[in-house]
Symmetry: C2
Subunit: 281 residues, 2 copies
């Protein structure tokens, strides 16, 4: 496994690999890797000839009062984990190379960036789309793998790649959960034992919603009422949103026909957590 | 020469050419070609192994009250001209393939898109940057050629390519003028004989500015006063802006040290014309 820090060197490596050896699979991350990231790497490893993992805590996707400076980092541990899944390259660019003086170009996916997490993080998806566009042009992957936990992010990136005719296939992979059901997230380390226990109600409310749909209830408003009841019963949680949307367009659904996705965000102690689940046909 | 209308076919052609034969030079146009466009094609022809010319009147760079529907079009004549410079491919995509339903992603180059033409065309450069980003991803050129007549556009595209790490070299080529000095533009056909004669004062005022700088005057305000005097003397012209800017950053310059560029826009009859010239060291 090789660590590349220079953008030009990264591009040269990819061009050469693609010309001579085969396909490049790419997993962009902000580091502090967990089983969720590793599942993306394993998917890429299976489907592509090379695996490139980027680690870059992207400043442009954090709002002014968010946790950029506190975001957990542990490069040594990350390198051990990427070695464990036989990554070929860890791409670890420097912020000064990503955003040199004079930088001023942003990619905006308009409708999909609004609402849900975009409502209280107004520049977040612009920052995500911009850094992913840059990383795609630096790493030149055939396929790129993103987790479904960040559901709106995945929708934004798929739409961007399609709208701007990027020659990369964007692949979503299922949420990986802790044994107790909590969706894996680098931010879970912020939680106290009590907060962490309280956070489980997110997954519990998703399973309740799925049960209701399976038993024939297709009214979003009724299902959301049950979901909200479970979350509001937990004093340590503050609900940010609970919505049922179309799985691709993310349009609001009054009726879950044929499918939908339940999207949740809540604050637990000072930590913003998100989770989601498909509502079955 | 081959005409390609399909985006996927265009991409396949370029991938294959670059793998097997050599470099691809690209000249994006809105058609109704003139000597200015042909000079770009000749530059591309000299520097690259293949020449791809796109013809696409891009709706997203026109404002709601601009001349999209009236914009001059003549595909047969354009094909004759591109054959004349031995283009390999004319890429002629359809608006419904460029902007399918649900399209919502835009590329914005922030500071450089403001002021000058951006002042009265607030979404113009967003439309330009977006379509050029798409065309780059469709045509996959090694080098792309743009005229310096659209000076702010060239600055926006250079910045976009750099900021988003696009693997294409953006090359600016000098303005081509009619024998009487009028900068070539597809919109010149809108002018009456009188309007056309009046428009010559743009180039005349640029030459006056260059003379003043050559004779030692480096004060932008003084030079602009002379420029504006010449243009305001012409009753058929309505000045939109006259500014002296840094050639790369487009920042306003009080002193032309070491170099500057004089940028002009004016309305002649109903036609918006632009012109510019470097102010020498």
């Amino acid at each position: 496994m090789e660590v590349i820090k220079d953008v030009q060197e990264m591009r040269r490596w990819s061009i050469s690999f693609r010309q001579n050896k085969g396909s490049v699979g790419f997993v962009p991350t902000m580091g502090f890797l967990h089983e969720g990231h590793l599942s993306l790497m394993k998917a890429a490893r299976e489907r592509c000839d090379a695996l490139v993992v980027s680690i870059f805590v992207n400043p442009t996707q954090f709002g002014p009062n968010e946790d950029l400076s506190q975001y957990p980092r542990d490069l040594e541990r990350d390198l051990t984990l990427t070695r464990g899944v036989a990554a070929d390259i860890v791409f670890f660019p420097d912020a000064s190379q990503m955003y040199p003086p004079g930088f001023q170009t942003y990619v905006q996916v308009e409708e999909l960036s609004q609402g849900l997490c975009g409502a209280d993080r107004p520049t977040h998806f612009r920052g995500v789309a911009t850094v992913v566009a840059k990383l795609f042009n630096q790493v030149l992957p055939d396929q790129a793998f993103f987790g479904e936990k960040d559901y709106q992010q995945l929708a934004v990136i798929k739409r961007m790649a399609k709208d701007l005719d990027m020659s990369v296939e964007v692949i979503g992979c299922p949420i990986v959960r802790e044994p107790d059901g909590l969706a894996m997230s680098s931010r879970n380390v912020y939680l106290t034992t009590q907060g962490r226990k309280a956070a489980l109600c997110l997954n519990r409310s998703i399973r309740k919603a799925q049960e209701l749909v399976r038993s024939g209830n297709r009214q979003s408003s009724q299902i959301l009422r049950e979901v909200i009841k479970i979350i509001e019963n937990e004093p340590l949680l503050q609900l940010i949103y609970a919505e049922i949307r179309h799985p691709d367009s993310l349009e609001s659904l009054e009726q879950i026909v044929p499918r939908g996705v339940l999207l949740l965000a809540a604050r637990v102690e000072k930590t913003r957590l998100i989770d989601n689940g498909y509502l079955p046909e």
